[in-house]
Symmetry: C2
Subunit: 384 residues, 2 copies
């Protein structure tokens, strides 16, 4: 698999809040080869804590990419056929400009002077990157969770630039419960005495708060059943309760470990900015009803949800599928049976790779105008 | 309604961890009148953050008791018929001995020198209080959530002391997910720089950590649907997003408010001790299988769960019902249809008062040996 790692610099980007951010840098990785017609490009969009390292093994850390189960030769996103690109999101802390980047006005990290960004801003920057690659139209935009929000935003904001969108385990707008879990994480960080109103760079970071925020996240990513099967009430040490506030149960040990680990790779301010972007996300904002919003799209859709995902429950995906059907879009929907909760989208479960592979194969035909016979007139226009 | 508020002192109590706590005080409230035969007493057991003030209006604060919808003249627990008692749990911070109580050995609050306690210890202390009242057998022991755990423990540990048990929205053992949510709350408190290993009395308490812990709790007490209906994506201020980290959404405002309020009435160390007791709770520990454990009981059971409760899901209640049936116990089960999640048990929804009223009426007959004709021989012995 041909892997390229790089970063693209732009003079500036205009944001949804009306401000301009300048300059701006986008970190990316790509896998496979762009064909001569530049028609085989797929944009992968990462979830909240992801980064551009979606596939392959990182030479420095030895770690596989976050979606390595799905991206590679012969995999769901087959790098022998497709040119797969993944960029770190705006506001992130893994190469793309974010609150830990240097503010040229001060020579210090932006911290909370960084503007509050939106999913629309993230996607606008991705479009600039795709322009830079010279790709006229993406064969697919896809991602899970927050990645799915970006895929939907792409299809609505830049309808002539995407043949298809594959939103996975996602939603058209954050619900009260989804906002609530994010707000808990933000409050945990902001209550940390080391937070210092975001100015902690070069000092001790708000590690405790960030760790607690991540622990909450991990619970919501799993299902009651998968936690029961993975940990149950298994004790960490021997057969005895400690009668102390140390670790008794395996599940406590797991959460503490994952929380602590996260602190080493993620910036607390990025946690604030990216969760806020998710909470602000409402695909319909300024665009009318959900149907009116989705009527702007020209893409074909493959929507995927997971039966045990209670953070982004199937009913949210089904709502978008019904609205897409109502406006005559070519939409396929798969609810994958899986016990692994929201994390399912990261795993090779329930035939997700096959669903994607078959959909993409059809999208090649759609892009080449070879196969729309099964679709009605209006719709054919849209997807051809 | 006759209301009595008081507190009972005991020389000492022996705990499950092998230690002795001395002295020990129990705060209680009672409603209604104990009859001459002392056969009309019902023990109400509160949930995690509750206290002895279960019913009526507090003269000082003007606040109704936490189960005022269920306890009073003509209500589910009818104080015209029954003598209803509620005690604050061991380890609490509302009158009963807990980590904020003075350790006679030092003259200072126990803080983390307080022994780690169990649901069994809480129930042992309640039994001492019931002995003090001179009540030979409780007509019913009941409570929701952690209160239900205590009701189950009563029925197993002191089978000849309870005619019936009504565990509501509860479980026979904490699951990995339930432990996980509690552990997040504990970590939020313990990471707070004001926690100071529990020695914060007379100083600034770990308010931020306790507030975050409570926010997590509130999310788990509601359902996705009830949060959607109560808050949705409604904004706090006008129609505009703030593009800041202040409060945008009503749900954020609600959580911050409830978190902040909790700090004024609850002790962070009690949070640690009581959640740990819940996590340690496994009714079967040292007692064999669930069936073997429940075969020790002599009570009749009314089990109640709520359809939208995802913190203590119905399947956990159904598991105990099946086990009770397997060992031939008189068990009724009601799954109340309600959208309010775990909080449902505190509310007057879905006929919960009627279910309780009818069950208690039958229990009076059972206690008086008037009505067991519908039951088999062995079982009649148990419930008569």
């Amino acid at each position: 698999m041909i892997v390229e790692r790089g970063s693209i610099g732009f003079d500036s980007i205009t944001l949804d809040n009306g401000s301009t951010l300048a300059p701006v840098e986008v970190a990316y990785q790509s896998y496979g080869r762009l064909n001569a017609a530049k028609s085989n490009a797929i944009l992968i969009e990462h979830a909240f804590s992801g980064d551009a390292h979606a596939a392959g093994v990182d030479a420095d850390t030895g770690k596989p990419g976050w979606w390595d189960s799905m991206i590679g030769p012969g995999k769901g996103f087959d790098t022998d056929r497709y040119f797969v690109v993944c960029t770190n999101v705006l506001g992130g802390c893994r190469g793309t400009t974010g609150p830990s980047s240097i503010d040229p006005a001060t020579g210090c990290p932006y911290a909370l002077k960084f503007p509050v960004i939106t999913i629309g801003d993230m996607v606008r920057l991705q479009r600039m990157a795709i322009d830079w690659f010279g790709i006229p139209r993406l064969l697919a935009v896809t991602g899970g969770s927050m990645g799915g929000m970006q895929a939907l935003e792409w299809a609505v904001a830049y309808p002539d630039r995407v043949v298809s969108a594959i939103p996975i385990a996602s939603t058209t707008r954050h619900s009260a419960q989804q906002i609530a879990f994010n707000e808990v994480g933000r409050q945990a960080i902001m209550f940390d005495s080391h937070f210092n109103n975001g100015d902690y760079y070069g000092k001790q970071p708000p590690a405790g708060g960030l760790s607690v925020a991540r622990m909450v996240g991990h619970i919501t990513y799993m299902s009651d059943r998968s936690m029961g099967e993975k940990f149950g009430r298994r004790l960490r040490q021997k057969d005895d309760l400690s009668y102390s506030f140390g670790v008794d149960f395996e599940v406590e040990s797991y959460l503490r470990y994952r929380g602590g680990q996260f602190v080493n790779r993620f910036d607390a301010n990025s946690y604030l900015y990216i969760t806020k972007a998710m909470d602000y996300f409402d695909l319909t904002q300024g665009r009318g009803t959900l149907e009116e919003t989705l009527a702007r799209t020209q893409a074909c859709f493959q929507v995927i949800s997971f039966s045990s995902d209670w953070l982004y429950p199937s009913y949210q995906s089904q709502e978008m599928v019904r609205a897409l059907e109502a406006v005559g879009r070519d939409v396929s929907y798969t609810e994958v049976q899986s016990d692994y909760g929201h994390d399912s989208f990261l795993l090779d479960v329930g035939g997700q790779p096959d669903v994607v592979r078959e959909f993409l194969s059809r999208m090649e035909d759609v892009a080449n105008g070879r196969s729309m016979a099964h679709l009605g007139g209006d719709y054919r226009m849209a997807c051809e």
